[in-house]
Symmetry: C2
Subunit: 127 residues, 2 copies
DNA sequence: ACGAATTGTGTTATGTTATTACATATGCTA
DNA sequence: TAGCATATGTAATAACATAACACAATTCGT
């Protein structure tokens, strides 16, 4: 399951690893211009691959991307809290929530391929 | 709590009521051109108001809008399943999920102002 | 009924996010 | 080493969203 990343993929992954907060594709493009990246598709293509490998996550409510925080992979399920003041994101893996949503889906004849859970609000430091 | 909608707000609400599937702002603009709407701000302003009144919901993973399905208002919490084949959306209100997420937030010193839950997948008819 | 304040409208322009299309390059594998 | 799949670079464009400004309609207090 080990995969060797290409140069652009590694550049984008590193940029997201350095970032304290979610980055948009255009943030990343600006950040990586000096590394030779010039156009949006270079960023989006790298992001697509990293998303597929689940090394990064997309935050739908921000149109932005974050590095995957930990080894939730087995659980295939992440939720995020997003502080609207400082921008910091926490990733967590609420198994019971997954179960409940799965239960709803089963009852309602829906097959979920992916689930987005994002809490917007304030962390304690920003209250 | 009864509010009289303005002409543009009513036009947008009606268009979303007629729609079987989520509509983007530009879909709505096209739909409502013959009613005299010409520019994006007219749509977005109406949508902002309707969102504030919770008569419509925004689907973050689609950048699109749906009519609010029922009286979840008291519960202040909605989740959505989105069929990627037919586009149909179901809205539901998983109270226990709300409780679990609230519990996580409390433990982690996070104050959630709003929560997005969206399941992407296939409904039974599209399997 | 009046004027002030608030809310909504119409419009142009622009900002932001994402994709299409196509030509070239790189690396794997038979 | 030829062929194929994957990745790259680039320009152009599509799709989603907001800023700014002038004016109109509505609401509210007196």
């Amino acid at each position: 399951m080990k995969v060797k990343l290409t140069k652009n993929q590694q550049l984008v992954l590193d940029a997201l690893t350095r970032a304290e907060t979610p980055q948009t594709a255009y943030n990343l493009l600006d950040e990586l211009r000096e590394e030779g990246l010039r156009a949006p598709p270079q960023i989006y293509r790298a992001l697509d691959k990293l998303l597929e490998l689940e090394l990064v996550h997309r935050l739908e409510s921000l149109n932005a991307f974050v590095i995957c925080a930990h080894d939730h992979h087995d659980q295939g399920f992440s939720a995020f809290s997003i502080c609207e003041a400082c921008g910091k994101v926490s990733e967590f893996s609420p198994q019971e929530v997954a179960g409940l949503l799965q239960g709803w889906a089963a009852k309602n004849n829906f097959v979920a391929k992916s689930t987005t859970i994002e809490l917007r609000g304030h962390c304690i430091r920003c209250d």
